[in-house]
C-alpha cells in the first residue's frame, strides 16, 4: 500500500496499490470504515491479479473534491511544513504519544525488558 508514488516506484516493490491521499492516510480516511474496507479489498485483489513485477495499481478514490491539498505538501515556507521539516530535533529519547505510556513502559522494561520490543543488531 502506498501514498507516495515516486518513492514506491524508486524502491521498486514486487506489487503495490497507490492511494492518492496525503501522507498519514495510506489505508483510508479516519472513521470511514466503508472506504477502509474498499481500499483493503482492492489491495487484496491486487495480490491475486497483478502479474507483472513492479506494477503499481492506482486506486480510484479521491481525497477531496479538488486537488488543492497537493499544493501545500512539503512546499518550503508554507505553514504546513512543520511535520516534514528536516530540522525537527532528533534525539534517542522515546517520543511517547500519551503521558501515561511512559510509566507503563518503565514497568514493562523492569519486568521483562519489554519482551515485545525488539532492537535488532
Amino acid at each position: 500500500m502506498s501514498s507516495a508514488y515516486s518513492i514506491t516506484r524508486s524502491v521498486n516493490v514486487p506489487r503495490a496499490v497507490y492511494l492518492d491521499f496525503p501522507l498519514g492516510h495510506t489505508a483510508g480516511k479516519p472513521g470511514d470504515k466503508a472506504l477502509q474496507r474498499k481500499v483493503m479489498i482492492d489491495t487484496l485483489s491486487a495480490l491475486d491479479t497483478i502479474q507483472v513485477p513492479g506494477t503499481i495499481r492506482s486506486l480510484p478514490y479521491r481525497w477531496a473534491a479538488t486537488e488543492d491539498w497537493k499544493d501545500q505538501v512539503m512546499r518550503p515556507n508554507s505553514e504546513k511544513t512543520e511535520h516534514a521539516d528536516a530540522r525537527v530535533e532528533r534525539t534517542t529519547d522515546p517520543q511517547y504519544h500519551l503521558e501515561d505510556d511512559v510509566r507503563a513502559a518503565e514497568l514493562n522494561l523492569a519486568r521483562n525488558g519489554c519482551a515485545d520490543c525488539i532492537w535488532p543488531e
Partner: protein
C-alpha cells in the same frame, strides 16, 4: 498537474536545497523486483501486517526520532484502544483518531471475518520510518522482521508505509 501524484522525491530535493542540505539519496532498485505469485487462494492464506507509521502498544517503549531501527510485536488480537502513534515526519491527527489509516488491523480482522482472507498471523510488526540510513533498514531491520514473518508462517504480507 493536479491529477498527478505528489512527487515526494522531487519535493524533498527542493526542501533540502532550500535548507542548504545535500540531496537525500533515495533508495533506487533497478530491474525487475523479486516476484512470487500467491500460491493459494486468499481465503486460505495467512496474512501478515507490517507498518512503518510509528505504531506501538501501551506498555511498550515508544520509538525515538534518530534512526530508530527497532520494531514492536503487536498481537493481532490487540484492543485498538491500546494502540499509540508517534512519528516526526507526518501529520498524526488522523492516525491518532483511527489507527486503521496507517495500521489497518481492524480492517484486516474484518476481512478474515468476511472470509476474504484465511486468517491473520499472530503478530503485526511495526517500526518508525524516517530512518535516514537505508543500509541499516536493508541489512538489520528488514531481515529481522522477515525472519519473524517466516516463523509466523504467513503466506503474504501487507506492507503499509507512510
Amino acid at each position: 498537474m493536479h491529477n498527478e501524484p505528489v512527487d515526494y522525491i522531487q519535493r524533498t530535493l527542493e526542501q533540502y536545497a532550500n535548507l542548504g542540505y545535500p540531496p537525500y539519496q533515495w533508495v533506487n532498485n533497478p530491474g525487475d523486483p523479486p516476484f512470487v505469485p500467491l500460491g493459494k487462494a486468499l481465503q486460505d492464506a495467512r496474512v501478515g501486517l507490517v507498518a512503518s507509521g510509528g505504531i506501538y502498544r501501551h506498555g511498550q517503549v515508544a520509538f525515538h526520532f534518530k534512526d530508530d531501527c527497532s520494531f514492536r510485536l503487536i498481537p493481532t488480537t490487540v484492543k485498538l484502544s491500546e494502540l499509540r502513534v508517534t512519528h516526526f515526519a507526518y501529520d498524526l491527527t488522523a492516525a491518532r483518531v483511527d489507527p486503521n489509516v496507517v495500521f489497518p488491523l481492524e480492517t484486516l480482522r474484518d476481512m478474515a471475518q468476511l472470509s476474504r482472507i484465511g486468517e491473520l498471523g499472530p503478530h503485526a510488526y511495526t517500526f518508525m520510518g524516517g530512518i535516514y540510513s537505508s543500509r541499516k533498514v536493508k541489512e538489520i531491520l528488514a531481515p529481522a522482521i522477515a525472519d519473524r514473518l517466516v516463523k509466523d508462517g504467513v503466506d503474504v504480507v501487507i506492507l503499509v508505509p507512510v
